[in-house]
């Protein structure tokens, strides 16, 4: 490992110091040439980014204040804040907001923590870690739709999970109809989502763990630090950047919960699993209310913006 790092460091140095700095004029011409080439290079990406992201976002902001329909002979009309007024009195929308936060509040810490434990385990220098890394990573490369379908079968009342629990508890356990029980449906989906996504974040933690110089561990060992102290004063501070990245990515993924809901419960039973994104899609495509769906998206955008802002503030570099 340490040989790799030295090699990387050498390469990084060679990049920051150009081999022979050219004369002023020639340099600026080359620079201009490089700039135009760069502009050309980036133009396809910018074009696609504009067409498929920036323009739709701007449109959604505008449409949120109209009653535009997906299929209609009547052009959309400006209706001010009517869509928002309706949303804020709609119990289904509030249930969606509540469920979205509930999901994020549980999934973000649990998935990040569990991923860290897995990363520490597979980072141990014992034989067979590659095997476990692969096994843990398998759910990540499987499509979420497929995973959701399979777990829907497993969560059935006489499905695999109840059978296993029944066997393990020697019959003292009464089967729960997981996805049809308003109390259990969302926790069941949380469990599955964490199982599916945890290995992805394990890999990110792992990459963070491997950037911590081995010398620090050696030094702390000489100083007589225990394993716990090593984790608290060497490993954890070294993972600071990684932790921020993981926090932000899991939060955004958790807020945009949709696939599992669409495949497994369609927001039911009794709105116990409906989410903001699911409501936006249902309103926009199934109910053809483009304007109202845009309003939901706008609220969602603001929600994510505020949460990310708070996270940025809490994880900022303190000098």
């Amino acid at each position: 490992m340490s040989t790799f790092r030295t090699f990387d460091a050498a390469r990084a140095e060679s990049v920051t110091t150009p081999p022979d700095p050219p004369a002023g004029r020639r340099r600026s011409r080359t620079l201009r040439g490089e700039r135009s080439a760069a502009a050309w290079m980036i133009s396809p990406a910018i074009l696609l980014f504009m067409v498929f992201l920036i323009i739709p976002i701007i449109l959604a902001f505008g449409l949120a204040f109209t009653d535009t329909r997906l299929i209609s002979p009547r052009p959309g009309q400006f209706i001010g804040l009517d869509n928002f007024a309706y949303l804020f009195t709609d119990p289904v929308f509030w249930a969606s907001v509540r469920n979205t936060f509930y999901f994020a509040l549980v999934v973000v810490p649990v998935q990040a923590g569990f991923a860290l434990i897995l990363a520490l385990l597979v980072n141990a220098k014992v034989r067979g870690t590659n095997f476990f890394r692969t096994v843990y990573f398998l759910p990540v490369v499987t499509s979420m739709v497929v995973v959701s379908l399979l777990w829907r079968f497993m969560y059935e009342k006489d499905g695999l999970i109840n059978q296993v629990l029944g066997t393990l508890s020697f019959g003292t356990y009464t089967p729960i109809d997981w996805l049809n029980d308003p109390v259990w449906a969302l926790p069941a989906i949380m469990f599955m989502s964490i199982w599916q996504g945890v290995a992805f974040h394990m890999v990110i933690w792992l990459s963070g763990l491997q950037t911590i110089p081995a010398e620090l561990y050696e030094a702390s060992e000489i100083d007589g630090a225990s394993r716990r102290q090593q984790f608290l004063y060497v490993t954890w501070p070294g993972l600071r950047q990684t932790a921020t990245l993981i926090l932000v990515t899991i939060t955004i993924a958790a807020f945009s919960l949709f696939t599992q809901i669409a495949v497994m419960t369609q927001g039911g039973p009794l709105d116990s699993t409906t989410t903001v994104v699911y409501q936006a899609v249902r309103t926009g495509y199934q109910q053809l209310q483009t304007g109202l769906a845009s309003a939901i998206s706008l609220v969602f955008f603001v929600m994510v913006l505020i949460v990310s802002g708070i996270q940025r503030y809490l994880t900022r570099e303190r000098s």
Partner: protein
């Protein structure tokens, strides 16, 4: 220097590649070939070889029968079809002939996607009402086949439980049906006495359960004005329906969410009575020698079943209406109704065609489906609000089955539907 040029060329090529791929999607419709006008036709039957085969036969016959028009078929998988049509309509590039799922006809007519067919009235003599997309007396679309909802059981089961086997002329009353469930449940043979296919979602819910609601005397919308659902969807009849339906779950007669494949569960002996469409006929009869087909019960307002499957319509932006009409008239031939029914096993949409198919002729083993469709079919409300109503009803039904407060759920459904109709200016044409 040359390296720089190379880089710029590479970047330009990349940009060009993106631009051309984007451009390819647009354009490429209409046009003339060999002096004949091309008429485009879109179908949802992609991937369904039996149905697509019939469509191709009709088109080949039509193209061979004259030399003024050439009909060209474009097939889509069913899941992507509606999106394709909506996208094409938005960019004003619909083909001349489209197929439409029955309940969408009114919405698409209102949106200006399709226009009245303009074929002579006698073309549709002897056609099942449910297979015509009619609005204000004008035919916007016609279909070749329909589907009937029915109940399946076994003679041995019903005899063992001591239950009368009902007929189309003398169906079970709601009371008889509830007693039958209690008796079947008492046999102790089945996980559930009846399987209503509650594991299904999407359009299955209004298709299968709104007829039950109608049999109780309720409806999805007040059909006298089509402007409000008040009273129809949240009146005492609708509440009675909701209480009865949820009651089946409470009594343990029915699963709140049944299995993925209700027909397979029935064939495997998990349920005593199966409620589904006649597409299950072959599977059920193949499994049991003593299978019986039962009309849905009469809960007070007569037995009712859904109606309306895929139909053919004429788009509003069509440049060659005459050619499209010529094709639609040519295709409306008993011969092709027979082909359709034989290829996909569903109910032929005209009585003439039914008479030519042994299974659907008088005394045939599938005749009962034709009778059910002919006597009990109620089309889903022919209003442009239907897609919205359907979505609201899906959620309401699932909430009721999950044990929610029926009055609150139905009141909310009604206020959502009324708000939508009002926002759309009553969906007037």
């Amino acid at each position: 220097m040359s390296r720089k040029i190379g880089r710029i060329v590479a970047a330009s090529l990349a940009t060009l590649a993106v631009a051309t791929t984007a451009g390819c999607a647009a354009g490429g419709s209409g046009g003339e070939a060999d002096g004949a006008t091309t008429i485009d036709l879109w179908t949802h039957a992609g991937g369904n070889d039996a149905e697509l085969g019939v469509i191709n036969t009709i088109v080949e016959d039509f193209n061979g029968s004259q030399d003024r028009y050439v009909v060209e078929v474009t097939e889509f998988p069913q899941d992507a079809y509606n999106d394709a049509v909506v996208a094409a309509a938005t960019s004003d590039s619909l083909p001349c002939i489209v197929d439409i799922d029955g309940p969408n006809v009114a919405n698409w007519a209102w949106a200006g996607y399709i226009q009245p067919l303009g074929l002579p009235d006698e073309t549709f003599d002897g056609q099942l009402e449910g297979t015509l997309g009619k609005i204000d007396g004008e035919v916007y679309a016609y279909g070749f086949f329909d589907v009937a909802l029915a109940m399946f059981s076994r003679e041995s089961t019903l005899n063992a439980a001591g239950i009368r086997i009902p007929t189309v002329d003398d169906p079970w009353t709601g009371e008889e049906f509830n007693e039958a469930l209690a008796k079947i449940d008492a046999l102790g043979q089945f996980d559930y006495a009846v399987d209503f296919g509650t594991g299904g979602g999407g359009e299955w819910i209004p298709y299968a359960y709104s007829p039950l609601l109608q049999s109780f005397g309720g409806d999805l919308i007040d059909r006298s004005t089509f402007e409000t659902a008040e009273g129809a969807l949240n009146g005492p009849e609708a509440l009675e329906w909701a209480g009865w339906f949820r009651g089946l779950v409470d009594d343990g007669y029915m699963a709140q969410t049944s299995g993925e494949d209700a027909t397979a569960d029935f064939v495997n002996g998990a349920s005593g009575i199966l409620y589904t469409g006649n597409w299950a006929d072959a599977t059920v009869r193949g499994a049991f020698d003593d299978a019986v087909v039962i009309p849905p019960p009469d809960f007070g307002n007569g037995p009712t079943i859904g109606a309306g499957s895929w139909q053919w319509g004429l788009s509003s932006g069509c440049d060659d209406i005459e050619g499209a009409q010529a094709y639609l008239e040519f295709a409306h031939d008993t011969k092709y109704f027979v082909d359709y029914a034989e290829a996909i096993g569903l109910i032929p949409a005209t009585l003439d065609a039914a008479a030519e198919i042994p299974a659907f002729a008088e005394g045939g083993e599938s005749r009962i489906y034709l009778e059910l469709a002919n006597q009990f079919a109620v089309v889903r409300p022919e209003t442009a609000a239907y897609p919205f109503i359907s979505s609201v009803f899906q959620k309401a039904t699932q909430d009721i089955l999950a044990g929610g407060d029926a009055q609150a759920i139905l009141d909310k459904a009604v206020s959502d539907i009324d708000r939508d109709i009002q926002q759309n200016g009553g969906y007037t044409f």
